[in-house]
Amino acid sequence: MQKITISGFGGQGVLSLGKFISYSAIEQNLNTSWLPSYGPEMRGGTANCSVIYSAEEIAAPVIDHPDILIAFNEPSLDKFEGSVKKGGIIITNSDIVHKATTRKDVKFYQIPVDTLAAAINKRGANVYMLGVLLPIFNGDISEEAAIHAVEHVFESKPKVIPSNIECLKAGIEYMKKLVK
């Protein structure tokens, strides 16, 4: 089971990264829930979602202590870093977030996903981040499942599928080197 909080500006693909994880989890026959923020919070510029996958029934769809926080902007890091589980993981988009976490009891990764993805697909940062997550998920979600999820989400825009799959694979390779 993983409880993941994803947060950032609207338009950074925060909500769709969450959906990618949930679609991938379904491909693996796991239970999953995706809970978005909605309303004025989003219109004010920030969006977040809570994503859980588990082999068991998922009780609460809300997350008080995420295993993983993905912060696409600084306000998101400020807002959620304190809630991350001891020994959990914080990942920031270091193209936007220029500071480190104040937490000393978590694993911290600063990844310039905008720059890294831009070499392949300017709009592929969130799919790149999905790739980054797969090695962390430690085999719970296979590359094939994630590819199916990408294909499913972009069903109506088949042209963008190949470059997104490339982003996904690049993200996996990037993280494999870091966690080795």
Binding site: K19, S22, Y23, I26, N31, T32, S33, W34, L35, P36, Y38, G39, P40, I58, A59, A60, P61, V62, D64, H65
Partner: protein, 351 residues
């Protein structure tokens, strides 16, 4: 095959699968995906979607469609449901089957748009004027949204009564895997020709009415209605019992909050505190019996009712417990959602 469904869209597709072909509504957050989905889906299956000029108009269109014998529904969120109450009372008094969805947001007044459960009284105690109750379903997952919506139309037809499905903004907006049951063959839907105003082919006029001006006639009707509610209570009361067999602390919660209680229960049990949950699936009829039975169990020390409100369902829990055990209340309101950790802390520290 399970697919990832958003709560609101799952309700909409489940209604179509159940044979609902007519929807009347007016936009309001956080339930807009229901009308949005049905606006393209219903024409696809030969049905009709109407965005009315107001909630009052929408509920009266539903009254008309139900009176003509159609499978029909409306949906809204709290302030919009308040506007529909006059119509719901009329529908109950005219004994018409239909489905009404309330994806609750925070109140009172125009309130906010975040999740809440402040419409419990309104849903279960009638809501509009006069002596009546709709049947009220309170799903807690997207699959249960689907299953209860699918079944709601049949239950409404069986008793000729409005059925209300209440969720909250969280359940409406979230996504989970769910499987939609097969499309109902419209030929298998119940025949309503003996009462519905669908043309007097046999030369016998049908009258759909809620005006009963003679006191004796109206009293007899009210008695008839309440006999029906007795039968509904006997046949339709539903709840989930989660780990109460050895529980010393029994949570009572419905909808999304019940799931937060479950997460808290897992944590409390890991710390050696035996907690369990009664989750009413029907809020009317209320699962009074199981709560009364647990209140008589020696090992049960207390009940904790948890709601996203200032405390509404807690009154029904107190009625069921009838003074045998303490009934405590934990609530958040305004659109705030309690976390599992809040409930663990409440049980351990009493705050």
């Amino acid at each position: 095959m399970k697919k990832l469904w958003k709560g609101n869209e799952a309700i909409a597709e489940a209604a179509v699968a159940a044979g609902c072909r007519y929807f009347f509504g007016y936009p309001i957050t956080p339930q807009n995906e229901i009308p949005e989905y049905l606006s393209w889906r219903l024409p696809e299956v030969g049905g009709a979607f109407i965005q009315a000029e107001s909630e009052v108009s929408a509920i009266n269109m539903l009254y008309g469609a139900a009176g003509a014998g159609a499978r029909a529904m409306t949906s809204s969120s709290s302030p919009g449901i308040s506007l529909k109450q006059e119509g719901i009372s009329y529908i109950a008094a005219a004994e018409l089957p239909c489905v009404i969805v309330n994806m609750m947001r925070s109140g009172p007044g125009l309130g906010g748009i975040q999740p809440a459960q402040g419409d419990y009284f309104q849903a279960t105690k009638g809501g509009g004027h006069g002596d009546y109750h709709p049947i009220v379903f309170a799903p807690s997952s997207i699959q249960e949204f689907v299953d209860l919506t699918y079944g709601a139309f049949d239950v409404a037809d069986k008793y000729r009564t409005p059925v209300m499905i209440i969720g909250d903004g969280m359940l409406g907006q979230m996504m989970e895997p769910a499987e939609i049951p097969p499309m109902r063959d419209l030929k298998t839907l119940p025949d309503k020709n003996d009462w519905a105003a669908c043309g007097h082919s046999d030369g016998r006029p049908r009258i759909i009415n809620s005006l009963r001006i003679e006191p004796d006639e109206l009293e007899a009707f009210n008695e008839h209605l309440f006999k029906k509610y007795e039968e509904i209570t006997k046949n339709e009361t539903r709840y989930e019992d989660y780990l109460t067999s050895d529980a010393e602390i029994v949570f009572v919660a419905y909808g999304s909050v019940a799931r937060i209680c479950k997460a808290a229960i897992v944590e409390l049990r890991a710390q050696g505190i035996k907690a369990g949950l009664i989750r009413p699936i029907t809020l009317y009829p209320y699962p009074t019996e199981i709560i009364a039975k647990l209140a008589k169990c020696d090992k049960v020390k207390k009940f904790v009712t948890v709601e996203m409100s200032m405390g509404q369902m807690v009154e029904d829990v107190r009625l069921a417990v009838n003074g045998l055990k303490p009934v405590e209340f934990y609530g958040r309101s305004g659109g705030n959602v309690m976390m599992p950790g809040d409930l663990v802390k409440y049980v351990k520290e009493g705050k």
